[in-house]
């Protein structure tokens, strides 16, 4: 039971730390693209590690008492983790593409090489 609990604390700490960094970065960065960068760090890395902490917790309880409820808990959390891993980067990419096409330049940017490459 001990090794799973140590893994649980480490994963929970990493997840909460990255969520904190992402929220502070969302508040402090200057334009849309850098804010999206910080927010995507929070949504992918933080959510993945908090879900992994829940999976480690259910494995530890399953090893300890052998109740089949915790096996089902681990399986459903793995499905939720797969959904998060698939959907979050796709949504972030869609937001970035919409922000670029609606004409928002990054701060202190002078030229737009993506638009020039499309015009060729």
């Amino acid at each position: 039971m001990g090794i799973w609990l140590i893994i649980l604390y480490i994963f929970l700490g990493i997840g909460v730390f990255f969520n904190c960094l992402g929220s502070v970065g969302l508040l402090r960065f200057p334009d849309v693209y850098t804010r999206l960068h910080a927010a995507t760090k929070a949504t992918t890395f933080g959510s993945i590690f908090t879900s992994l902490a829940v999976i480690a917790y259910s494995f530890s309880r399953w090893n300890a008492c052998g109740d089949s409820k915790f096996r089902v808990l681990a399986l459903h959390t793995i499905v939720a983790l797969v959904c998060l891993v698939i959907t979050n980067p796709t949504g972030a990419h869609a937001i970035a593409r919409a922000a670029h096409r609606s004409g928002i330049m990054p701060k202190q940017a002078v030229i737009d090489e993506l638009k020039e490459a499309k015009l060729k």
Binding site: V16, V32, S47, V72, G91, A92, A94, A98, R101, S102
Partner: protein
């Protein structure tokens, strides 16, 4: 309520605090994509908090709510981004 309840409910409260920081960006944000980024961040923080609270209460059906919510919030974000893209093209 066992001794593991405290381990999962306190990070849930911290995620609520981070949601409040993202809500400040929703208030301040000068352009519309800033606000959509804040919406996306609050969505995923709510899903992560739902998984943590479901593990704290040891109920399997609470995790299913988090799965449904992750897929639905993805569709909402994608639809708003599509609308913003189509509006710029006119």
């Amino acid at each position: 309520m066992n001794e593991f309840f405290k381990i999962f409910i306190i990070p849930g409260g911290l995620l609520l605090l981070f949601m409040f920081l993202s809500l400040i960006r929703l208030i301040l944000g000068p352009t519309t994509p800033d606000r959509i980024v804040a919406l996306d961040t609050i969505n995923t923080l709510v899903v992560a908090g739902m998984i943590l609270v479901g593990a704290a209460y040891e109920e399997v059906i609470y995790i299913d709510v988090a799965i449904v919510y992750a897929l639905l919030s993805y569709i909402g974000t994608l639809y708003v981004a599509k609308y913003l893209e189509g509006e710029a093209k006119k």
